[in-house]
């Protein structure tokens, strides 16, 4: 099994520790991880802004970079969703088709490919889970409240295996945080308000550590936490599963 690690551009630049924890976690689980150094980005920022034609060369760079691997694992539901869903505008060569199928969000990979069912980690904190919309509704990694009252999902399943953990019961289990890529700038007022409302929900219900599968949502929420000096520590799910403590 030849596994490549894809570290999204903004994680590479701003959250190297998330990349390091992802790498260490996979290695702990016995995976031999390759990291192609020429990787950059999946192309989503431009495409969501309406410029997917400009993104084509980034798509080609991505598929060229990762064509030789059985799995491309990334700590991001959003980037995974983008490659799977929106790489349909370039020619569907066998290599492109293969990459689109082999890209996996980290937790999905842990549960469905590695079949991890034990996480030997103590995490005695009250943890609030932020479901990223692309992971939840895009990749269907968690049930959506529009469809069912059952809140099960992949990240929650793994989190519940940690020793000593308590999960926050939120008033709104799966409302969007308001990041939305360039939306966070072009619709600043609504974006900020959505984030503030998510943080208020977590504070009201006692979250000590806020986590999730997408660092982009968490970057936006952390920006609000820090501005408000709220008593919440933000950690990516890879950090928690790898045994990091707040």
């Amino acid at each position: 099994m030849k596994v490549a690690l894809f570290i999204p551009c903004y994680v590479d630049q701003f959250y190297p520790k998330v990349g390091i924890n992802t790498l260490q976690l996979l290695e702990k689980l016995g995976v031999e991880v390759h990291f192609p150094m020429q990787q950059t980005c999946c192309g989503q920022p431009m495409a969501n802004s309406g410029c997917e034609q400009d993104s084509k060369e980034v798509y080609h760079h991505f598929t060229d970079t990762f064509a030789d691997y059985d799995y491309v694992v990334t700590p991001s539901g959003s980037c995974t969703y983008h490659v799977r869903k929106h790489y349909d505008i370039i020619e569907q060569t066998p290599a492109v088709q293969k990459v689109r199928k082999s890209v996996y969000e980290l937790v999905d990979f842990l549960e469905n490919i590695l079949k991890v069912d034990e996480i030997p980690v103590d995490f005695p904190h009250k943890v609030g889970l932020h479901l990223s919309c692309h992971g939840q509704r895009g990749l269907r990694q968690a049930n959506a409240s529009e469809i069912t009252g059952d809140k099960n999902g992949q990240i929650l399943t793994l989190l519940k295996k940690l020793r000593g953990i308590e999960i926050t019961q939120l008033d709104r289990n799966d409302e969007c945080c308001g990041f939305g890529g360039s939306f966070c700038i072009s619709e600043e007022a609504v974006s900020a308000r959505m984030g503030q409302d998510r943080i208020a929900d977590h504070l009201r219900n006692g979250t000590q550590v806020l986590t999730g599968g997408d660092m982009s949502c968490l970057m936006h929420l952390e920006g609000i936490v820090r501005r408000q000096q709220a008593p919440i520590k933000v950690m990516h799910i890879a950090e928690i599963l790898n045994g990091s403590q707040p």
Binding site: I7, C9, V33, C133, F183, A189, M219, G223
Partner: protein, 464 residues
């Protein structure tokens, strides 16, 4: 028209934004409680979607079948290519009606809720031509008094608090100043509207569903105002968008089960009224309107937006709509569905609407007829860019970003320089609100001294 600017204005009243969000979220939760106990709800959505897809693919046939059957029932059928033609037809029907001809004094019309007539701007047109028009849906009447458009397609006055309604009724209906008791205000509206119903010459309704095989149509209301109007006036005009058809009466049950649950969390609307033929001595007219629908039907990526049954669930669930209000969309149909319908009408005017979304996908999951709304928002964004309607800063910024991200060395260097700058520049500069909208309410992440790639090449070299 600029959604971000109107949304920012809406958000400047923090508490009112909270109230608006919570009010609509309450409706969304009511909808959840109504659908969770129904095991076949997802199957119903699938069925409804398929029925609508089939109907849209055979719309020409079903429209003609409907016309033929309606005419056999003694109903007059009219066709309008656009809003102007629709308005002229309605005026002609009123002017030529036997019961109106030769009448001295004002001609009076009562209307139940119809988003189509809002879309066609019928009210001002008729008023200009001397017809008294009274909206009889309570929410519609409130916004009509205030000379505002509806802010929601199911709850037209949802942007108003009871205090606002009290003030409006004080001005227009003479209720005591400061009266805000909902029951007292409703009673005042009821007495006012009773008079209007009794006096009306013509009743206009919308159409929720038109059934091709029977030539009949269905109007759903909670207030019974459509029925009251239609049964008292001599002339009934029903205005429908051409996409309102379903093939058979047996299909209706699927939609009736979905509509009210999705809209307000009710099992069914209080009144579900079927109209087939005029009563003795009365006239019944149906006006079938295109107004851009054929054009949308011709757009492969966007045609299934015509499946919409106007339940408003996508508005109630949309975190952006709840925090920006219906008026921020400046289109008859606001919210996510409005943001995919409006660019078909005027791409330039509505170019910011496909971007008034985080693409969270909640709208698509809540939609009772499974319109892939967030996918169409994404696709409209591509059209906006292609038609050169993006702001120039975004257009060129994205081109530059794409170039950089296709060249690893440039990306690595660019990232290093940007982080370096963030590390040395003072907080007052990096977080200057005039330069950096992010910083108005958020801190930037700390820029680390090394990227993951830099860490990797130092610590893990030789591994890949």
């Amino acid at each position: 028209m600029n959604h971000p600017a109107l949304a920012e204005k809406f958000n400047s009243d923090y508490n009112r934004t909270t109230w608006h969000d919570e009010t609509l979220w309450f409706v969304r939760q009511k909808r959840d409680r109504a659908i969770y106990p129904i095991p076949e709800f997802q199957e119903l959505r699938q069925l409804a979607s398929q029925i609508k897809d089939h109907t849209l693919s055979n719309l020409d046939t079903y429209l003609l079948e409907f016309e033929k059957n309606a005419q056999q029932n003694g109903v007059h059928v009219h066709w309008a290519a656009d809003g102007d033609e629709h308005n002229r037809i309605v005026l002609d029907i009123i002017s030529n009606a036997a019961s109106v001809k030769g009448k001295t004094g004002p001609v009076r019309m009562v209307k139940s809720k119809s988003m189509l007539t809002e879309e066609c701007h019928l009210n001002p047109f008729l008023q200009k031509n001397g017809i008294e028009v009274v909206d009889t849906d309570l929410g519609e009447r409130i916004v009509q008094f205030r000379n505002e458009p509806p802010s929601h397609i199911v709850m037209p006055a949802i942007h108003l608090k009871k205090e606002d309604v009290g003030e409006t009724f004080h001005q227009h209906l003479g209720t005591p100043k400061g009266e805000k008791d909902p029951q007292a205000l409703t009673e005042a509206a009821r007495q006012h509207l009773r008079q209007k119903f009794v006096e009306a010459d013509v009743a206009l309704t919308g159409v929720n569903f038109a059934v091709a095989e029977t030539g009949s149509f269905v109007v759903c209301t909670n207030e019974g105002n459509a029925d009251l109007g239609v049964n008292l006036a001599k002339v009934h005009i029903a205005c429908m968008g051409m996409e309102k058809l379903i093939p058979k009466i047996e299909h209706l049950s699927v939609f009736i089960r979905l509509l009210a649950r999705s809209a307000t969390g009710q099992p069914v609307t209080t009144y579900t009224s079927h109209f087939t033929k005029p009563a003795k001595g009365k006239e019944m007219h149906i006006v079938i309107v295109d107004n851009g629908r054929t054009q949308q039907l011709g757009r492969a990526d966007f045609r299934n937006s015509l499946k919409c049954i106007r339940c408003g669930a996508c508005m109630n669930t949309c975190p952006v709509y709840r925090r920006s209000g219906g008026h921020s969309y400046d289109f008859t149909v606001p919210g996510p569905i409005g943001a995919i319908l409006s660019p078909n009408i005027d791409l330039h005017k509505y170019s910011t609407l496909p971007f008034a979304s985080t693409l969270c996908g909640s709208c698509s999951d809540v939609c009772p007829v499974k319109i892939d709304i967030h996918v169409q928002l994404y696709k409209w964004r591509q059209v906006v860019a292609k038609e050169n309607e993006l702001p120039l800063s975004k257009k060129w910024g994205m081109k530059g970003l794409a170039k950089m991200l296709a060249m690893p060395k440039v990306y690595d260097l660019g990232g290093k320089l940007a982080r370096g700058a963030l590390r040395v520049l003072p907080h007052g500069i990096t977080h200057a609100q005039s330069l950096n909208p992010w910083a108005k309410a958020r801190e930037l992440p700390d820029a680390p001294s090394q990227s993951f790639k830099e860490w990797y090449s130092k610590n893990q070299k030789g591994k890949s």
